[in-house]
């Protein structure tokens, strides 16, 4: 829709801006002046479908799907460079997180499938043990997302293993029950 076509207002989602704006961390987004300081600063900008600045203009115009389906949000490495430089103090990185969550929730994370798989498994690890278990995490990730590419991960794994940096057994925290109660309570309260 974005390319080579007239964009009809009726096809846009004009509540999108307010939706993001009302999330914690999104409170400054309406003030973006499209200066491009964020895109200029972003180490991943060139690989992104839309560099951060454009994400904000898309949000403003109501291009909901374009934003949520873009690879942009999955290429953000949380370096926060954009956020500290933004002249309007927009918490760009936090907005990226919000978009990631929205994309996962709505099943629009196609381009971020791998990252989403990694993240989801990470959550599983933490919920299961209370801590991350990197060996299991990587194994699960490879099985789920990179099965055909598995060999690719071997050299690094080996290098870690040989230097005694990959634990075999997970560490379970003692009061896992407490952690689960907290998690369940959040589930019950609902996200913000």
């Amino acid at each position: 829709m974005l390319e080579n076509e007239v964009c009809y207002e009726a096809t846009l989602d004009h509540d999108f801006l307010d939706e993001i704006y009302s999330l914690p961390g999104g409170e400054e987004i309406k003030r973006c002046i499209q200066c491009g300081s964020c895109s200029g600063s972003c180490p991943q900008a060139c690989q992104m479908d839309h560099a951060p600045r454009k994400i904000f203009s898309l949000i403003r115009a109501g291009f909901r799907d374009e934003v949520l389906e873009s690879n942009t949000i999955w290429l953000c490495s949380s370096c926060y460079t954009c956020a500290v430089r933004c002249p309007k103090e927009i918490k760009i990185t936090d907005v990226m997180y919000a978009l990631k969550r929205l994309a996962i929730k709505e099943g629009k994370a196609r381009k971020g499938r791998k990252a989403a798989v990694l993240s989801k498994n990470f959550v599983k690890m933490v919920n299961k043990y209370g801590r991350n278990h990197e060996t299991e995490l990587m194994t699960r990730y490879i099985l789920e997302a990179e099965l055909f590419n598995a060999l690719h991960f071997v050299p690094q794994g080996m290098r870690l293993m040989m230097n005694g940096r990959l634990p075999v057994m997970p560490h379970k925290i003692k009061n896992l029950d407490q952690l689960r109660k907290i998690i369940n309570k959040v589930e019950e309260l609902g996200e913000i």
Partner: protein, 291 residues
């Protein structure tokens, strides 16, 4: 000086060499770290990508447990440092978050009032420890060693207040205190790709390449870092960078606490040096061992 210590998951696994060196040097610096009992994963950046409130809630469990000690909470991991601080920020500045997190903690029999100060171990070393005390303990002459301090992202950004987000200098100062020479290069706060290494490897490798290249060009013998993820990307993936970009980097990437240990005369074994992917060799080896 006594602190509550939050190691973070990586330090117990892929970054165990970091922990080893911390254990070795902390006593000499007069830093007493008491590990927070039964701490859990802070959620890192991954958890936050799936569930926000939940990630803050589990992260706050640690803060709640730490609060009763009335001491600063110290972590060596930049990601933990960021996440715990961010939890504090969202907890303290967004009333809705605060009340929900509060309720969740309550379900676990905990409560938190938002008053734990979370600090990175670098902050503690450069700001709480007397620099002269460190320099007086230096036994190895590192004057010829050219060290490229690599700060990475999450210790200085978003602005945490103990150093400049664009031009941090606390580690530079520390390196000089240890008698080594800092290499002034522009990439010291540029991103290494972080967790993208898992999902978008090529992109992350390119970032590592730029970084290694700049450090090498400016004549660095080694890169010093303070984040498990940075260290892994630059160290374990260095061969991959070489094969992909036809480069020939052999730059050891060590932790700042390892460098401190070296300067103070600790043995490589005590510092976990043998666990490095890219081993110390050449000029650096000569300087360290020759001294």
């Amino acid at each position: 000086m006594k602190y509550t210590y939050y190691p973070g998951c990586s330090v117990t696994a892929t970054a165990n060499l970091y922990q080893e060196s911390i254990d070795t040097v902390a006593p000499s610096l007069g830093i007493e770290l008491e590990e927070l009992d039964d701490w859990n994963c802070c959620g890192a950046t991954a958890y936050m990508s799936v569930r926000e409130l939940m990630s803050f809630a589990i992260s706050a469990r640690n803060l709640a447990m730490a609060e009763k000690f009335h001491r600063d909470l110290v972590t060596p991991c930049s990601a933990c440092y960021l996440v715990l601080n961010k939890t504090n920020h969202y907890f303290n500045d967004y009333p809705d978050m605060r009340s929900k997190i509060g309720k969740a903690l309550e379900a676990g029999g905990l409560s938190y009032s938002g008053n734990v100060r979370v600090r990175h171990i670098l902050d503690v070393i450069v700001n709480d420890v007397d620099m002269e005390k460190i320099s007086s303990q230096v036994t190895r002459d590192l004057k010829e060693l050219r060290v490229a301090p690599y700060y990475g992202c999450q210790i200085v950004r978003p602005e945490m207040g103990f150093d400049d987000p664009d031009e941090p200098e606390s580690m530079d100062r520390l390196i000089e205190t240890l008698g080594a020479e800092t290499v002034d290069y522009s990439m010291k706060t540029k991103c290494c790709g972080a967790s993208l290494m898992g999902t978008e490897e090529k992109m992350a490798l390119a970032l590592c390449r730029d970084l290694l290249m700049d450090a090498q060009k400016k004549g660095a013998h080694c890169i010093v870092t303070l984040c498990p993820l940075c260290q892994m990307n630059l160290d374990i993936y260095q061969p991959k960078v070489n094969s992909l970009f036809k480069t020939d980097f052999k730059i050891p990437v060590i932790y700042i606490t390892q460098l401190i240990g070296i300067a103070l005369g600790a043995s490589p074994a005590e510092l976990g040096m043998k666990r490095l992917g890219v081993k110390v060799s050449g000029e650096m080896k000569r300087i360290i061992e020759g001294a």
